[in-house]
């Protein structure tokens, strides 16, 4: 095309700054409109789903950590039980059993459960103020062992049998196995619930985003027809929806994290109250570890990214539809 006279005129006018100063313009509006009603609804959906997801993740993390703690507590200790017998000097037998236990490599400490502590252990069944001498109450030595290099239990048993025949070594293996099985099942169920929750969240976010994007189809069309490339349109929508996703997911995740913090603070500050005891007995402690909070941040990032990616894919799909209508006129409106 030939060079146009208007170009020269326009250049002259552009050089005159007074002309532009006469017209005041607002800052350029974004290509994709700011959040409207459907955008806000999407943000709320994302916030709710992020909250539920973060809550589930927190709960599963707590159960897993609790299960690991049980398992660790049980496998860290063994017990020597000495049954009363005629002619047995209990305190001497306890002391001897303790010395035998400590003589093996792999034992870290051995503590005799004294009479007062034994009474407290039996209180729930026998009540307060019973006389221990009137009953054949067995006594315990609790031995802490090195989990990584445990002592030879068979050798301890043999030595105890020789020196203190009334002593029985309990390495808690039966309990440990049961607890390990229970913990694994609990964690598996938790991971299953978390997977379902994630899948539901992702599907909800994808469909909600696509729903909102359907209302923006006319913008995609106009941009496409004024010569915008697919990557440009995709990037513009992605920016807007990433922000919506981030705001919603951060709000949901923050509320869940704050909830865990508040519950943990309440439990710490109201220890030994009836309500706290009941809640702790039912649900355990609500303390979430660093990994739990890190997981919540991960959920926020994942959901925001999912929203942004869905938006870009929806834009690409919309443009493909427009081009498909171009190739197959039967799909287009009759004009």
């Amino acid at each position: 095309m030939t060079e146009r006279a208007t170009n020269q005129n326009r250049s002259k006018r552009r050089a005159d700054p007074k002309r532009d100063r006469l017209v005041s313009l607002r800052p350029m509006a974004p290509i994709v409109p700011p959040v409207n009603v459907s955008g806000r609804a999407l943000m709320v959906v994302i916030a709710i789903m992020s909250f539920l997801c973060a809550l589930t993740l927190g709960a599963v993390t707590m159960v897993q950590e609790k299960a690991e703690a049980w398992q660790s507590d049980v496998s860290r200790e063994i017990t020597i039980q000495i049954k009363p017998d005629d002619g047995l000097e209990m305190e001497t037998a306890l002391s001897e059993a303790r010395t035998i236990a400590l003589s093996f490599p792999g034992t870290l400490s051995a503590d005799i459960v004294d009479r007062a502590a034994t009474s407290r252990l039996l209180e729930p069944w026998l009540g307060e103020g019973f006389d221990m001498d009137e009953l054949p109450v067995p006594r315990l030595v609790i031995v802490t062992i090195d989990e990584t290099a445990p002592p030879d239990f068979a050798a301890i048993r043999q030595k105890l049998a020789e020196a203190v025949p009334a002593a029985v070594l309990d390495d808690h293996r039966a309990w440990a196995n049961r607890l390990i099985s229970m913990a694994r099942i609990t964690v598996l169920i938790g991971v299953g619930i978390l997977t379902l929750m994630f899948a539901t969240t992702m599907l909800t976010v994808i469909f909600a985003t696509r729903g909102v994007m359907a209302g923006n189809r006319h913008i995609v069309e106009v941009l496409h027809f004024v010569g915008a490339e697919t990557s440009f349109i995709g990037a513009e929508f992605q920016k807007r929806f990433l922000l919506i996703g981030l705001k919603g997911a951060a709000a949901g995740g923050s509320v869940a994290a704050l909830g865990f913090l508040l519950l943990a603070a309440w439990q710490s500050n109201s220890m030994a109250t009836a309500l706290n005891d009941q809640v702790t007995a039912l649900f355990g402690r609500f303390t979430l570890s660093g990994a739990g909070y890190f997981g919540i941040v991960g959920i926020v990032i994942l959901i925001s990214a999912m929203t942004a990616v869905t938006t870009r894919l929806t834009v690409i799909r919309t443009i493909r539809e427009i081009d498909r209508q171009r190739a197959d006129p039967s799909l287009a409106e009759i004009g």
């Binding site: 208007t6 006018r13 607002r26 509006a29 006319h218 004024v226 490339e229 006129p329 039967s330 009759i334």
Partner: protein
């Protein structure tokens, strides 16, 4: 610049709505496309804008066969065409100024480089006082002029306008026609789809008359 050869188009399994169209749109030419309602004017405009593919025949745009142009190259080719849609297709969240500047913005141009041009063009189409107004507040005629300004802003090689004077009073229609003829004098090929015989009588230009899907050309 644009070449149609034995072009036909049908929607689905229906009859052909456009039949055996053979014509050229030369550089710097001016033509009216007319015909009764439902004759296929808008369909032909969409073929010219590459938003439809013909079911048969050959269309060459700027020397390229549109049947083999990859989808990602279409936006770049469309940048050489300005289009005024019958339904304007303005973005409601953008002001008049922002709507007109949109084609330049999507090309990645800096606002400072086109600000004066956009304001000047808006004044030229009589919207100098409506620069900061959003489309829902504009009248039909004003929207039409915004759509025309948007089509013209990047000085296209071809301007396609579908009923560009349909919503304006006769003085404004004359003014818009003058705008098109001035643009044409500067080298842009213009295709105006219209019913308005008075408008066509004002310019001595080629008339393309669509009747029953067939095209008669009166030079």
């Amino acid at each position: 610049m644009i070449h149609f050869e034995n072009v036909g188009l049908r929607y689905g399994m229906g009859p052909e709505v456009l039949r055996d169209l053979t014509f050229d749109i030369p550089k710097g030419s001016f033509q009216f496309l007319t015909g009764p309602s439902g004759a296929g004017k808008t369909t032909l405009m969409r073929l010219l804008f590459m938003s439809l593919k013909p079911t048969r025949g050959l269309i060459r745009m700027f020397g390229r066969d549109i049947a083999v142009i990859p989808g990602e190259e279409l936006p770049l080719l469309r940048r050489r065409i300005g289009i005024v849609f019958q339904d304007f297709r303005l973005l409601d969240h953008m002001t008049t100024y922002e709507n007109v500047a949109l084609p330049l913005r999507v090309r990645g141009k800096d606002e400072a480089s086109y600000r004066s041009d956009v304001i000047e063009l808006l004044k030229w189409v009589g919207l100098g006082e409506r620069i900061n107004v959003l489309p829902p507040v504009l009248s039909g005629g004003e929207k039409q002029r915004v759509a025309i300004a948007r089509a013209l802003i990047d000085q296209p090689e071809v301007l396609l306008a579908d009923e560009p004077t349909g919503n304006v009073d006769p003085p404004m229609a004359r003014r818009l026609l003058n705008l098109f003829t001035e643009l044409n004098r500067l080298g842009t090929a213009v295709v105006i789809a219209t019913h308005d015989l008075t408008l066509m009588d004002r310019v001595d230009a080629r008339r393309m008359i669509l009747t029953g899907g067939r095209l008669d050309i009166h030079d």
